[in-house]
Symmetry: C2
Subunit: 180 residues, 2 copies
């Protein structure tokens, strides 16, 4: 039974109207791209681990969340040497906008470490960060990784705890060393 | 002035007798190899970031410090994908013995993370662990890395603190996720 009368903004019928076709999704965002509809937003958000990044746009995003400026050449090389880069785009056919990011380093067989998890402040608090982590973890699981680690900033410890991360197992502490 | 009368075991004259020539050191252990004389031991210990590992010997070392057995094929791939592997050998011309190990993953430009720091229990407590970390950090500094991180087990937190590592900067906590 199709009940057109019950169609409403945010409901499944409305979603389908703006859904990107599988073919277009792969063409624009890559093989493992995944679209997601957020509450109250008519257009899909898209997660991808294979669409390439505009470095300037990525730096703008990272600065919007309050991180220091880093030389673009260094950032490019760091990305090239990362195990996995995940972007979150607010979909637009001609100009998708990067609003989220995370990356992993590691050996890909025993360990992976997550860095630079960022959601544009305008879009924070609506569950997109959680979705970004889910997408990232699915990508890592596909690779058969056994253990994933991250260094959680003080203000997002609850965020990771809620998602099942174990904080400081067996009294482990994170240690940092900085070059002078 | 050369005072042969002051030559004693552990002194510099004694050390020179067993010192490996620069050429042999490079041939046996690689370009950046470094030898070190430990208190009361006539033969040098050698650190190297380019000598290859016997995987069985490496697994024996890691098990000697109490770590779980891991499939060798997985270990091999993890090593191949590591940024840096450092070994510590007790020198012997025909059969150098692996007694220490550490490795790093990372992007090599922004971040490096240290894993699997191990010293054979027989040789623990004599400063070799500190020397191993110094050698590792020198190798990383040569690459121009800006920040190095590690997850310190509860019983070695003091060890890292003494070497200038910052524990939990800004309230950071380490978070682990394990595959089921």
């Amino acid at each position: 039974m199709i009940n057109i009368g019950k169609k409403k903004i945010g409901g499944p019928g409305w979603r389908n109207q703006n859904r990107i076709s599988d073919e277009l999704l792969k063409n624009l965002y890559g093989q493992q791209a995944s679209q997601y509809f957020n509450q109250g937003d008519p257009n899909p958000f898209v997660f991808s681990d294979s669409r390439s990044f505009d470095l300037i746009e990525l730096e703008q995003l990272l600065q919007a969340v309050g991180w220091g400026r880093r030389p673009l050449r260094r950032v490019k090389r760091a990305l090239d040497n990362s195990l996995l880069k995940v972007g979150l785009w607010k979909h637009d056919k001609s100009f998708p906008r990067l609003i989220g990011f995370a990356r992993c380093t590691g050996d890909g067989f025993i360990d992976a470490t997550i860095w630079d998890v960022a959601i544009n402040p305008v879009y924070q608090g609506s569950g997109l960060g959680k979705q970004l982590m889910s997408y990232l973890m699915r990508s890592l699981k596909r690779e058969g990784i056994k253990r994933v680690t991250l260094f959680a900033d003080a203000d997002v410890i609850i965020f990771y705890k809620r998602q099942g991360w174990v904080l400081e197992p067996k009294g482990n502490k994170c240690a940092f060393w900085y070059s002078n």
